[in-house]
């Protein structure tokens, strides 16, 4: 065996593989959860035929999609048309790579140095997340444009209009957290939130940055194109928006990207504001359970919102973004900066 294949390298490769699959599986789980939660909200039962309580329904759906014919419209720009869903999924999957979901494990002393539970710890992790999740918009804009269909084009246009109206407040909300933590690495941001105030309230940034959290989460909903900001695909207006012309698994990829993005935004919000894997009762190496619980809670919120609220109009989101979110984010940032300097 070559010398460079050490247990650490193997463990890393396994981890990367595991994270990839976990993300894809979690989006399958999210599809199930969304349908189940929405069913209970609406006085229905939801899927309950395939597998236990319908847990295998998403897999049945994927198999069905795989068996469908892949249609490319004659007038479409074929290369971009096929590339767009790949960009969306790639961006969605990559963004998660810098999110830490636990401290470190040694696998009962097998690994030395111990393995940190994240794909990679980049010292500008927050910027990486921010940059890569923004890339996902290209997938949508290109899909809308390359389909050469009017409804798709309008969906793509809306997506770009939407992006400029929330990205700035999104960034400003992040900047406030970065100031508090004094670091751009997500792992350090989480570590900074350890401990309690008066032995009771966890030192989460949620309590220091309640406004920032709201702004971040609202912008996150817009970023992932979820209701009430799901204009690019608004089915009642634009039939299906940017993915009107997509069929088979390339449609499935957009679907996957949407759910992976939701998971990523929730995971990042957990790390930034909810103390990541930190929590009481559990030993350190089981911290990922806390991470899972917090992320799931945020994801549930996503689903809850979608099935309760009507849809905004896209010009109203822009107005909301520029007239409310942005000023609030700026004030939040300035106040945070002042407090950081004042209190050291």
């Amino acid at each position: 065996m070559p010398a460079f294949i050490t247990p650490t390298v193997i463990a890393h490769l396994v981890l990367i593989f595991a994270v990839m699959n976990m993300l894809v599986l979690s989006s399958a789980f999210m599809v199930w959860m969304e349908r189940k939660v929405c069913a209970y909200i609406q006085d229905r039962l939801g899927p309950n035929r395939v597998g236990f309580e319908g847990l295998l329904q998403p897999f049945a759906d994927v198999f069905k999609l795989l068996l469908k014919e892949e249609l490319v419209p004659k007038a479409a720009d074929k290369l971009l048309f096929l590339l767009a869903p790949i960009i969306s999924v790639a961006a969605a999957l990559t963004a998660f790579s810098v999110v830490p979901f636990g401290t470190q494990i040694t696998l009962f002393g097998l690994l030395d140095p111990p393995l940190r539970l994240e794909v990679t710890d980049v010292n500008v992790g927050i910027l990486v997340v921010f940059a890569i999740t923004s890339m996902g918009v290209y997938g949508i804009v290109l899909a809308g444009w390359s389909s050469n269909s009017k409804y798709s084009l309008l969906g793509g246009l809306r997506s770009s209009a939407q992006m400029i109206s929330y990205e700035i407040s999104y960034g400003l909300a992040l900047a406030a957290v970065v100031m508090l933590a004094g670091s751009l690495s997500l792992r350090e941001v989480v570590m900074n939130q350890s401990g309690y105030w008066w032995h009771l309230i966890p030192r989460w940034y949620l309590f220091l940055q309640p406004l920032g959290f709201l702004i971040f989460f609202t912008a996150g909903v817009a970023e992932t194109n979820r209701a009430p900001f799901d204009f690019p695909e608004a089915e009642q207006e634009l039939v299906a928006g940017y993915h009107t012309e997509y069929s088979s698994m390339s449609f499935g990829l957009f679907f996957l990207a949407e759910y992976v993005n939701m998971v990523t935004v929730s995971a990042v919000a957990t790390s930034l504001y909810l103390g990541g894997w930190l929590g009481p009762f559990l030993p350190d190496w089981l911290g990922w359970i806390w991470f899972l619980i917090k992320t799931l809670a945020l994801l549930f919120f996503y689903v809850w919102m979608r099935w309760t609220l009507p849809r905004y109009r896209y010009d109203q989101l822009m107005e909301f973004g520029w007239k409310y979110l942005l000023p609030v984010a700026i004030v939040n940032l300035i106040v945070t900066a002042a407090l950081v300097i004042w209190l050291g």
Partner: protein
Amino acid sequence: MSLFDTDELVINMGPQHPSTHGVLRVVLRLDGERVVGADVVIGYLHRGIEKLSEHRDWQQIVMLTDRMDYVSAATSNLGYCETVEKLMQIEVPRRARYIRTILSELQRIASHNLWLGTHAMDIGAMTVFLYNFRERELILDLFEEFCGARLTYSSMRIGGLPLDIPSGWARKVSAFCDLFETKIPEYEDLLTHNRIWKERTRNIGVISGADAIAIGLTGPPLRGSGVPRDVRKDEPYAAYDEFDFDVPIGSAGDIYDRYLVRLEEFRQSLRIIRQAIAGLPEGPVVGKVPRLIKPPAGETYHAIESPKGELGFFIVSDGRSNVPYRFRVRPPSFCNLQALPRLIKGHLVADVVAMIGSIDIVLGEVDR
């Protein structure tokens, strides 16, 4: 060709589109997402019901009226039957008139349920849709128990009703009224004070009272603009003159007001049903009707308040043949649809579906 092409984008909304409520086609000319102009194209569901009726026996036409406003068959039945009764001067027994009123009001609730569900869904509130269908289902059950059908009831006959209500039915209707009263706040909680709902519906699709009259709007869209016109009050038919109820009106004439008007009509309908159940007289349900229906020569127009507006029938009889000489319907959906191009001009694509929803059309009635 110039660098920036500034042509209008022409988009065909429908006839196959999720929110045109059937096979309505709207040709939109867009500047970005702003609507510069709109042409409404109808006729995709034309079955020639009016002409067909001139070749059908008087009793058979009841079945055709089911298929005009197919989400509100009972009121169409009522409108037609009352017109023929007016033509033949048939006295309808009081019990039949009461039951007709109950059926019409149940139908109004069911129709408004369907409207609210689809309208909210067009604006993105999916859950309201299922809540409304949950209650509508109960009304369909009541209708099924009464006449065996769930959609095309043919629930009335010239001179009265095909049959009396089953035993225990009146009690079930009251039980439904009590249940439904607790469900209306559920819709309101989700929408009425919802900030997003208000932003999507307030000051959108405004039409003034004078304009509404000029276009010929009737029903909730007219009342939403503040004109207190309701055929049930102004020219009472069936047994409406015996009941107390209010005619809710709006003030701004926008989508939100039309929504509030219809929500209030839910409550008023319940009020009417309760009074009718409480005072339901005994007696026959069919009046003195000749075996062969052959109205005397003459013409008549009679209108009722269907859930969508004023539903009128104009019928000419030559007094010789056993079919109408001329059969013409004044469908509220068709007349209300005329307002659409004027309403949507200058608004955004997202508003178009909200406006189509707010005037509540059924293509079966528009095209007939």
